[in-house]
């Protein structure tokens, strides 16, 4: 059993505070992804869990031990680095077996476990090669193999896929997911790529400027982002966000956009808004689609006629750009047909999937 628990963990470099009292619980065998833009403190947090950075304040527990002052080797963790950090002077076999050798395992035990890991990761043919004679994907696999042979309580991944090209990244993402299904272990994974976070995580921790913005399952953070930042960070293309003012139309609250469009607001937030309040209206591109090319039905939607400024065909769908509320917004056309720039289309905006944020605090009024 190895859950990881962070309590009010702080990291300071001199007077500069990088991580401001993070709380986080990672359950046994859970796959948690820390995601956020660069400089948000996610790698620092991971390195504190690994023991590569000292913590300035707070408590880190792995299993039932407080590990604050334990060196990395005593924490029973393994880590995959962004650079892979393979030992250049050792063959793949030696790289894989290094940790076991240091731990004083017998030759036969080392061979058995190294071969097992090699089998899982398909490294068999490369066992006697040096890292410099491997491709990027192979090095990545060796790095993962080195992590799994030691049978650690916790796997730590520090942006393991950022050095790979897009295609290989996709493949390795699937392999990491398979690996976790096969080798059940607690995983803490750091990335700046929200697609990786969404596809891999049981739960996502979204960080910014040393604070945790939201913790939740991929569908929670996608469907119910806690604030404007999370809403903009998760999802691709990103959520459209328009400044609006709360008004009343026929007794019902609406969001008045700067170009005079009135968007009816969901009933469940009625108690949290007041007339004249500045809000941010958010909706994902898939909530804005030309009539007949959407996921949502025509009922409970708002019809808006707009000229398409740019169309980006992606095959199964086309991203359409149009002006709304004084800003350029993106819509998504399913079962696409060819759309010419300037063409007038009737869009439907799915009112059930609107996100409403308080403009002052940035917090969601629907979460």
């Amino acid at each position: 059993m190895a859950e990881v628990r962070l309590e009010k963990v702080v990291k300071r470099y001199g007077k500069l505070e990088i991580v401001h009292g993070i709380d986080l619980d990672v359950a046994h065998n859970e796959f948690v992804v820390l995601v956020g833009p660069s400089g948000c403190g996610k790698s620092t947090t991971l390195r504190m869990i690994a023991g590569l950075e000292e913590i300035s304040d707070g408590v880190i527990r792995i299993g039932d031990r407080v590990v604050n002052d334990l060196p990395p080797r005593s924490r029973n963790i393994s880590m995959v680095f962004q650079s892979y950090a393979l030992y250049p002077h050792m063959s793949v076999r030696e790289n894989l077996g290094f940790g076991l050798k240091i731990a004083g395992q017998s030759e036969t035990e080392i061979k058995k476990r190294v071969d097992e890991a090699a089998e899982i990761l398909g490294l068999g043919p490369y066992m006697d090669r040096l890292p410099q004679h491997l491709s990027g994907g192979q090095r990545q696999r060796v790095a993962m193999g080195r992590a799994i042979v030691r049978n650690p309580d916790v796997f730590l991944f520090d942006e393991p896929l950022s050095n790979l090209d897009a295609k290989l990244r996709g493949q390795m993402r699937v392999e990491i997911k398979k690996l976790h299904q096969r080798v059940k272990t607690t995983v803490i994974y750091v990335t700046h790529d929200q697609v990786e976070a969404m596809t891999l995580a049981d739960r996502i921790v979204i960080m910014r400027d040393g604070y945790v913005e939201q913790v939740g399952t991929p569908s929670e953070v996608f469907d119910r982002p806690a604030n404007v930042f999370v809403a903009g960070f998760i999802g691709s293309p990103p959520m459209n966000q328009l400044s609006a003012t709360v008004a009343t139309d026929g007794g019902k609250p609406v969001a008045m956009l700067s170009d005079g469009v009135a968007v009816p607001l969901p009933a469940d937030i009625a108690g949290q808004i007041s007339e004249g309040q500045a809000i941010v209206l958010g909706f994902r591109p898939e909530s804005l689609a030309p009539r007949g090319h959407s996921l949502h039905g025509a009922e409970h939607s708002l019809s808006i006629n707009r000229a398409v400024t740019i169309a980006e065909p992606l095959g199964t769908e086309t991203i359409l750009f149009a002006e709304l509320g004084g800003k350029e917004v993106q819509g998504k056309m399913l079962n696409p047909r060819v759309v010419a720039p300037g063409e007038m289309l009737e869009f439907t905006l799915d009112l059930a999937r609107l996100h409403v944020f308080d403009a002052a605090s940035g917090k969601s009024l629907r979460a």
Binding site: P71, S78, A85, Y87, P88, G137, R146
Partner: protein, 287 residues
């Protein structure tokens, strides 16, 4: 390989070869002349007009300095050799051990006054060694270190440690910190991570530093000639001056001695050179 592409015309290639040839001649001829002189009789060396092509080759010059000829008294070459060896090896080993630690610290740790200290080490190299000979002589005399191997070892350490720090700092910097961290996560202590991962990767740098330190101590003349007196501490290069008398210089004997100085340095360089494989860190990180 841009250089290769830019050489297109044969005459350019020949011009470069000719240039390299001239440079090699300038480098090699004095050394070759010393070696040649060591195997020629004095008469031929001093002949006028000069005898350019050796007519007779002889080992008498070597036998002479070891005192194996009836015509002249030998020199304490054995003592000189042992002194040189002890002083050079001891100072090299200590300089590498301390310099490596210093270089590692400069490459890996942040501490107060680091930049100033590093600059200080480098500035110490700007002072010509001979300029130190008088103050060194006075201090060493007070300390009773004149004419001791220990005294000379300390001098060579002061010369070699800053250089070793500078060189190994560069090599350790090239080794990604990730490797040491990965090793620590794999179960190593900080020291094991250094010894099993970083040290093997820095070996080529350490080998270069060792060759340099050894050759500096082995060939140094100016300070050694001031600080040594007798066979208790005189080194081979200082021994060369035994061949000068008031009115004569025994050029052939001196050349034979020079050959004896060159041989160990050559042997060492050949032995160590196989460790000078660069680029071993390549491929451990990134794709």
């Amino acid at each position: 390989m841009r250089g290769k592409l830019s050489i297109e015309k044969p005459w350019q290639r020949w011009a470069i070869r000719f240039g390299v040839f001239i440079a090699m001649v300038i480098l090699v001829v004095p050394g070759a002349w010393v070696v040649l002189t060591a195997f020629r009789p004095n008469i031929e060396v001093l002949a006028r007009p000069a005898v350019w092509i050796p007519q007779h080759l002889t080992l008498n010059n070597f036998l002479g300095i070891f005192g194996l000829l009836s015509t002249q008294q030998g020199l304490p070459v054995g003592s000189y050799f042992v002194n040189s060896l002890v002083i050079s090896i001891t100072s090299t080993v200590i300089a590498i051990a301390l310099g490596m630690m210093g270089g590692y610290a400069f490459a890996r740790y942040r501490f107060r006054g680091k930049a100033t200290l590093f600059l200080g080490f480098m500035l110490s190299r700007t002072v010509p060694g001979v300029a130190l000979s008088l103050p060194l002589f006075i201090i060493w005399a007070r300390l009773g270190l004149i004419d001791t191997s220990f005294g000379l070892i300390v001098v060579y350490l002061a010369v070699n440690i800053p250089f070793t720090i500078w060189l190994t700092d560069g090599f350790f910097r090239q080794i990604p910190v990730d490797l040491s961290e990965a090793a620590q996560i794999d179960g190593c202590t900080r020291w094991q991570a250094f010894w099993k991962v970083e040290f093997p990767l820095a070996r080529s740098g350490l080998a270069s530093a060792a060759i340099f330190a050894f050759l500096t101590s082995w060939n140094e003349y100016a300070l050694a000639s001031q600080l040594t007196r007798t066979t208790a501490s005189k080194t081979m290069p200082v021994g060369l001056m035994d061949f000068t008398a008031q009115f004569t210089v025994d050029w052939t004997g001196m050349s034979a001695m020079a050959v004896l100085i060159i041989i160990p340095a050559l042997v060492l360089t050949f032995v160590v050179q196989k460790h000078l494989i660069a680029g071993l860190t390549f491929g451990g990180v990134k794709g």
